[in-house]
Symmetry: C2
DNA sequence: TCTGGCAGTCAAGGTTACCGAGTGCCAGAC
DNA sequence: GTCTGGCACTCGGTAACCTTGACTGCCAGA
């Protein structure tokens, strides 16, 4: 589609613009990309590139600026992600060497890591798949007069809990029996195990048990995706127009929108969405770099970076890639309860570090 | 300290400046505060007020702007918090009428509520006191080969969990016995119950039990304060200098600093800290309005509002006051497990609403 | 097909002048 | 003594204007 020279010129323009945030002139390209031609020739080529929609001239006497299409070509023709700088690599190594507490904490910190690696805002979407783990222990505990708590410990250390309302006439003994029956039924299998609890003979007990079972099968309201945003404040550094900052922060508030955005991008099989490629008008000046991460070999969640369209795509791609890989691995490490956890309460690794360091990012956690 | 007329003039200046964000002239004050004197007189008074440090003139031909000291006088002489507007009151009522899920979720949403009420950023610091609840149920569950999970359900529905590393030679039966012994020892009392577990006769079991007890007595690493920030993006609307926005967002990233700030203000017995009154140079353009909230009659956490020094103090004060009261009450409602929870895993109220509405704020949750 | 040169265009920056908002001060009234 | 009206003064802000310089587009010639 583009001959070598045009491609080289386009690449040069994109690179310069990403670096300097200023329109790139033909002379600058000439001296940077050693093409052996004069500025005039470059000018001609640039005029063609503009006609074809790769470049744009803010005004007549200015240099050229890449369009979304220009960035797209740049990204697609990228030799591949740049290797991570040594200091960054060290950061990643350090980060994943430490053991983190529960999943939420890990993901939250991961968003900060990614943000620090790239210097853009980072987004981490938590896994929303229900815990697949088998039940290791089940208990029904009476709390108040007409209130009980169903607590299940899953094999991976996660805890599922549901509040159960008791009809008035249930006795403590009946709760106990129902608990035992449910434990016998559930332990060793999935929490949502189908079928009915074997009858105990006592009607109230059986009713309680089946009601509890029903509740357990309903997904937790936490099922909605959780989003962690790291380094939102870096957006204020990436742009200098107040209005843009406002728009972007505004979108980041609507975390539901953000999750949908990332999902869409991934679903379209992309790892980069540039400018208007994702349909959000208020993020027209932003690009998104995403990668899924896996738990037990299955796509579980998403990590991503949100930055200006003139972002360092190569670095962002690498960072996102590396972090998603490492995160997958960290979550993979099976029984290790320090990480493979979701929705359950908190766990802490017995050798986990003390109180976390002061947050460095406007981290965000919400139920989108 | 200030005679009535000076006070009236100062108040008028502050009010106008809060409303218009523009230096206030003597003429404007004259027509607004019906003092029955001419602009010239007001000018003379304003000159005195400036000399005494209540007002400031950005430049010679400009009107006056309040200093921190001026705002302080204004706040202190405030007749009292303004009543909440009807729409706001409705918002609060609606909010607290709904049942919320677990504590974290509630606090997170509270920060958004407060932000929406005031149109500034809101901060909610979670209670950091350990759950005082009595143990209702205790269990030690083997997870992996050398890994167990201690799970305690407290009377208020909270769940405490600790990971326990098992020495290699422990059998499943021994874990079981230790679990039973610990349950017998702990249930009905506090989780940190002092004393030793009664011996079972089996050395390994006893060792495991006492090791577990030891772990239980150590505070969870989540003991560090959690902070929820709602509506951080509103800061971008409150200021129009990019550099200020950057500074403020920067501080909000360092959530540890933020917590300390709120703590300091409260400890000094203040409910409002204006401009440089709190020592943070980068928040010199900001004021903070705080109030503690209570759980079981004891100070548990803090709610606060962070806005520009020219904030609507009366409204902010009311909002913070009302929200802290209502929050205390919501958390008070004793056995109700839907709210009185911390650190434990998640619980959901059986009649809790489905997936929350899309987040409207850059909410933030971190371990400071 | 490339190149050098030249004219054209336009943003940015600096200068000037002007306007107007607001003060300070003073003399006179109450 | 206190207040007021009036007047001169001060500056920030805006607009008009010009200059500069950085580009490009185009064209004629290599």
């Amino acid at each position: 589609m583009l001959d070598d020279r045009k491609a080289a010129i386009l690449r040069a323009v994109v690179e310069c613009y990403i670096r300097d945030a200023q329109p790139v002139s033909s002379a600058y390209v000439t001296q940077l990309a050693s093409l052996g031609v004069s500025p005039a020739t470059v000018r001609n080529e640039m005029a063609v590139l503009e006609q074809e929609g790769y470049l744009l001239q803010p005004h007549a006497s200015a240099g050229r600026v890449p369009t979304d299409k220009g960035y797209r070509f740049f990204v697609d023709s990228l030799a591949g992600p740049a290797p991570l700088g040594e200091p960054q690599a060290e950061l990643v190594r350090m980060f994943f060497a430490r053991t983190h507490g529960e999943l939420e904490h890990l993901l939250h910190e991961t968003s900060e890591l990614l943000s620090r690696l790239t210097d853009y805002a980072a987004v981490v979407v938590a896994p929303n798949a229900p815990e697949p783990g088998r039940v290791r222990s089940f208990q029904l505990v009476t709390l108040a007069h007409q209130l009980a708590l169903a607590v299940a410990v899953l094999a991976n250390g996660a805890i599922e809990r549901r509040t159960i309302e008791l009809p008035g006439e249930v006795t403590e003994a009946q709760v106990h029996r129902a608990s035992a029956a449910l434990a016998a039924f559930l332990v060793g299998g999935p929490l949502e195990r189908s079928g009915a609890v074997p009858r105990t003979g006592d009607l109230t007990t059986d009713n309680l048990a089946s009601a509890t079972l029903q509740t357990l099968r309903q997904p937790d309201y936490e099922g909605a995706e959780q989003v962690f945003i790291g380094g939102a404040a870096r957006m204020a550094t990436a742009f200098d127009a107040v209005s843009t900052i406002r728009k972007v922060l505004g979108i980041m508030e609507q975390q539901f929108v953000l999750v949908t955005l990332l999902k869409d991008v991934l679903d379209r099989g992309l790892s980069v969405a540039i400018g208007t490629e994702h349909g959000l008008a208020s993020l027209a000046d932003c690009s998104v770099v995403v990668a899924p991460y896996e738990v037990d070999g299955e796509r579980a969640g998403t990590v991503g970076v949100l930055g200006p369209t003139r972002m360092h795509y190569d670095q962002a791609l690498t960072a996102v890639e590396v972090v998603s890989k490492k995160l997958s691995k960290a979550l993979q490490e099976g029984g290790k309860p320090s990480a493979a956890r979701h929705r359950g309460g908190r766990a802490r690794d017995s050798h986990g570090g003390g109180p976390g360091a002061p947050g460095r990012s406007i981290g965000s956690q919400s139920h989108a």
